[in-house]
C-alpha cells in the first residue's frame, strides 16, 4: 500500500533531488510522453483499437493553442481546455467513419488520417505557417510568474496532468464503461450480441484519447514556444505505441513506465543514438515474441 504512494511522491520531489537542467529537460519530456502514452493506452489497450495516427491529435492540440495564442491572444490556461476539447472532437470525427472498419484495416485508416493531417498542416501555410511552423507562442504564466524556459514548472504541471489522467483512466477501467471496452477488445461480435453499443464506446475512447493528446500538445507548444509539423510524424505515433506496448497494453502504470523507459533510455545511450530506431524495432519484435503483455500487462486469453 505504502509503495503506491511513495512513487508519486518521489517523482514529485525529483526536481529537488536532481536539479541538473539537462536532466530536468529529459524528465519533462518523459512526463509529456507519459501523458501521450496514457491517452493511446486508452484506445489501444483498453478497447483494442490499433491506432497508428495518434501524433495527429498531439499536433491538433499544439496548433490549436498556438493559433489561439498568436491570433487571438488567449493565454495558456484558456488554451489548455480548448486544445483538449478540439483534439477530442477531432478524435471523434476521424473515428466516425473508422469505427465500422475491421481491426487491421483500422490501423491503416488511422495511419492515413495521421499522414493527411500532417501534410495538410504542412501545406496550409496561411494558417499553420507551413513547414516553418509558428513561432513566438507564449509560455504559461501564473500571476506574474512566467514559466519561461526552465523545465521545472512544466514538469510539475505535467506531473499533475499525468496523475490526474492516470487516476481517471484507472477509474474508467473499473467502471461499466471500462468493462464494456474490455468486452469489445476481447470479442467484438460477442459484445455486440449482448447489447454493448460498440460504436458509441469506440468513439468515446477515441474522443478521450484524442483529448488527452490535445492536453499534451498544448503543454508542448507552450514549452517549446514554436510548433513545426516535423514534430508530429508517423515515427512519433509508432514511438508512443511502442511505449504503450512495452509497458503492457491496458496497464495504466505500464504506459507511464514504458514512456519513462523509452524517453530516458535514448539519452543514456546517446553515443548509440543512431542505433536508437534500430533497437526500437528489435525491441518490438522480441517483445511480441517473448513477452507480448509487456512489462506490466496482463496476459490476455488468446482467441
Amino acid at each position: 500500500m505504502k509503495l503506491k504512494y511513495l512513487l508519486p511522491v518521489f517523482f514529485l520531489l525529483l526536481p529537488f533531488i536532481d536539479s541538473n537542467p539537462y536532466h530536468m529537460d529529459v524528465f519533462t519530456t518523459a512526463a509529456l510522453y507519459a501523458l501521450l502514452a496514457l491517452g493511446l493506452n486508452l484506445i489501444v489497450g483498453f478497447v483494442g483499437l490499433l491506432h497508428l495516427g495518434y501524433a495527429a491529435f498531439f499536433a491538433i492540440g499544439a496548433y490549436t493553442y498556438a493559433l489561439l495564442n498568436l491570433r487571438l491572444g488567449y493565454p495558456f490556461w484558456v488554451g489548455l481546455p480548448i486544445s483538449a476539447v478540439t483534439a477530442g472532437i477531432a478524435g471523434v470525427l476521424l473515428g466516425l467513419p473508422a469505427v465500422r472498419v475491421r481491426g487491421d484495416y483500422l490501423a491503416i485508416v488511422t495511419l492515413g488520417f495521421g499522414e493527411i493531417v500532417r501534410i495538410a498542416v504542412t501545406n496550409c501555410e496561411r494558417w499553420t505557417g507551413g513547414p516553418n511552423g509558428l513561432l513566438g507562442i507564449a509560455h504559461p504564466t501564473i500571476g506574474s510568474f512566467n514559466f519561461g524556459v526552465d523545465s521545472r514548472p512544466y514538469y510539475w504541471l505535467l506531473f499533475i496532468l499525468v496523475e490526474a489522467t492516470a487516476w481517471v483512466c484507472a477509474r474508467l477501467r473499473r467502471s461499466r464503461i471500462g468493462l464494456a471496452w474490455g468486452a469489445l477488445r476481447e470479442d467484438e461480435l460477442a459484445a455486440r450480441c449482448i447489447g454493448v453499443d460498440a460504436t458509441r464506446l469506440k468513439l468515446l475512447a477515441l474522443g478521450l484519447g484524442g483529448a488527452i493528446a490535445g492536453l499534451a500538445g498544448c503543454v508542448f507548444a507552450a514549452k517549446q514556444g514554436t510548433v513545426t509539423p516535423d514534430s508530429f510524424d508517423f515515427i512519433l505515433s509508432v514511438m508512443i505505441l511502442a511505449m504503450v506496448i512495452l509497458g503492457g497494453l491496458g496497464s495504466v502504470r505500464g504506459a507511464i513506465l514504458g514512456a519513462a523507459v523509452l524517453s530516458i533510455a535514448p539519452e543514456l545511450l546517446r553515443s548509440f543514438s543512431s542505433y536508437r530506431m534500430l533497437l526500437f524495432g528489435v525491441m518490438m519484435i522480441v517483445l511480441m515474441r517473448v513477452r507480448p503483455q509487456g512489462l506490466l500487462g496482463r496476459r490476455h486469453v488468446a482467441p
Partner: protein, 380 residues
C-alpha cells in the same frame, strides 16, 4: 499487486540512479562556443562542412595562445538535423550550459529563426554563418549577427541576371516551402514583377520528394524561358535531372542552397550543365585573404564545400568577441561584439549594421560547366 508495484519502483530507481550518476561528474573549467547545424540527415554534408570550418577556427585560435586567461576554448557541436523542432531543443541545451558564451549556427533559416529566439532569451551572442532569410535579423534581436548576405539581395540579383544576361521574360518559380526557400522565391517574384518579367506560376514542393515530372510537365506546357528554384540541392538535383529527361528547353537557375558539389553528382554533369546559381558571396578561391584558410582546410579535411568559409569566419569573430570581453560572461561578450568594426576576415572586411547583418553584401553568380562550378561574376 505488490510485486508489480515493486517492479515498477525498482525500474524507476535504477533508471534514476543511472541518470544521477551520469550527472555527477567533475566538470573541467572550460569556455565553449556552441555550434549547431545538420550533422545527420540529408544535409549532413553541408553541416559537417560548416562544422569543420568552425573546428579549424577554434584550433587555430587555441594554437595562437590563450584567448581567455586560464581557459581553453572548445567547440560544443550540436545536431539539428535540419529540423526546426530539434533546433529549438539544441538551442535550449546550449543556452542552459553556462560554459557556452556564444553560438555559431544554424544552417537552415527555418532552424536559425526559432533558435535565435532561444539565444535571445538567454542573452547570448549568436552569429549566423549562412542562413540568408532577411527576417531573422528583423526580429530586433540585439544579440544576433550574420556574416553572409541575405535573400532580399540574392533574389533580386538572380532576377537581374536572368533578365539582363539571359533575356528571360517568362519565369516559373518553384520553392521547397521552407523559411529559406519560400522567402527567397518571394524575393525573386517581387523583383521579377517590378522588372516587368512575367511570373507564370509559383509552386511549392516538399523536401524529400522525388517525383517532379508531373510538375515539370505542367511547367513545360507553359513554356517559360527560365525555371527558378529556391531550395536545397537534393531536390534541385532531381529537378534538373527530370527537366533534362522531359526535354524542357527553359533555362534553370537556383539559389545558394544548390551551391554544393554533390548537386552535380546527383544530377549528373549532363543535366547540370548550363545551370545558373546565385551564392551568398564571391568566389572564395579568388579572395587573397582566404588563400591561407583554403589551404589549411583542404590539407586537413580534403574537399571544401560552400559553407565552410562562413562558419570559419563566424567562429573567428565569436572568438574575437570573447577575447575582447576578457571574462567568462555572456553580457561582456555581447558588449564586446558591439565594438567590433572593420573586422578583417577571410571574406572581406566586416562591419555590422544595426540589425546585425554584415556590410559585405556580395552576391556571386556561378554556372556549371564540365561538371564543375564556374564563377561568372559578382554584384555588390
Amino acid at each position: 499487486m505488490i510485486r508489480k508495484s515493486r517492479g515498477f519502483l525498482l525500474v524507476g530507481f535504477v533508471l534514476s540512479a543511472f541518470f544521477l550518476a551520469g550527472g555527477c561528474g567533475k566538470r573541467e573549467p572550460a569556455v565553449k562556443i556552441g555550434f549547431a547545424g545538420p550533422l545527420t540527415g540529408d544535409q549532413a554534408a553541408q553541416g559537417l562542412d560548416m562544422l569543420h570550418g568552425a573546428e579549424l577556427a577554434v584550433e587555430e585560435a587555441n594554437a595562437a595562445g590563450p584567448i581567455l586567461p586560464g581557459y581553453k576554448v572548445e567547440l560544443a557541436a550540436m545536431d539539428d538535423s535540419r529540423s526546426p523542432a530539434q533546433a529549438v531543443t539544441v538551442a535550449k541545451k546550449l543556452a542552459a550550459d553556462p560554459d557556452v558564451l556564444a553560438v555559431v549556427g544554424h544552417l537552415n533559416s527555418s532552424c536559425t529563426k526559432p533558435a535565435s529566439a532561444v539565444y535571445h532569451e538567454a542573452k547570448m551572442l549568436h552569429i549566423n554563418p549562412v542562413s540568408s532569410n532577411p527576417e531573422i535579423s528583423r526580429q530586433g534581436f540585439e544579440n544576433f549577427y550574420r556574416v553572409c548576405s541575405t535573400d532580399d539581395l540574392q533574389g533580386p540579383a538572380g532576377e537581374q541576371f536572368a533578365m539582363q544576361r539571359l533575356g528571360a521574360k517568362r519565369v516559373f518559380v518553384i520553392d521547397d516551402m521552407t523559411t529559406y526557400g519560400r522567402g527567397l522565391s518571394n524575393e525573386f517574384v517581387k523583383a521579377a514583377k517590378a522588372g516587368g518579367v512575367q511570373v507564370l506560376g509559383q509552386e511549392g514542393i516538399t523536401q524529400g520528394e522525388k517525383d517532379f515530372s508531373p510538375l515539370l510537365t505542367k511547367i513545360k506546357s507553359l513554356a517559360p524561358d527560365l525555371i527558378y528554384f529556391a531550395g536545397m540541392y537534393p531536390e534541385g538535383a532531381l529537378l534538373m535531372r527530370q527537366r533534362m529527361e522531359l526535354n524542357i528547353p527553359a533555362k534553370f537557375m537556383g539559389g545558394d542552397g544548390l551551391f554544393e558539389p554533390t548537386l552535380i553528382q546527383l544530377a549528373t554533369a549532363q543535366a547540370a550543365d548550363g545551370v545558373y546559381i546565385t551564392t551568398l558571396g564571391g568566389d572564395i578561391h579568388q579572395v587573397p585573404s582566404a588563400a591561407g584558410f583554403v589551404r589549411s582546410y583542404e590539407a586537413k579535411y580534403g574537399h571544401m564545400g560552400a559553407y565552410a568559409a562562413y562558419s570559419y569566419e563566424a567562429t573567428r569573430i565569436a572568438i574575437e568577441a570573447i577575447r575582447r570581453a576578457g571574462a567568462k560572461d555572456r553580457q561582456a561578450v555581447l558588449a564586446a561584439m558591439k565594438g567590433i568594426k572593420q573586422y578583417p576576415g577571410i571574406l572581406g572586411v566586416h562591419s555590422f549594421d544595426a540589425r546585425g547583418d554584415t556590410t559585405i553584401r556580395t552576391i556571386g553568380i556561378y554556372t556549371v560547366r564540365d561538371g564543375k562550378f564556374q564563377f561568372l561574376e559578382s554584384t555588390n
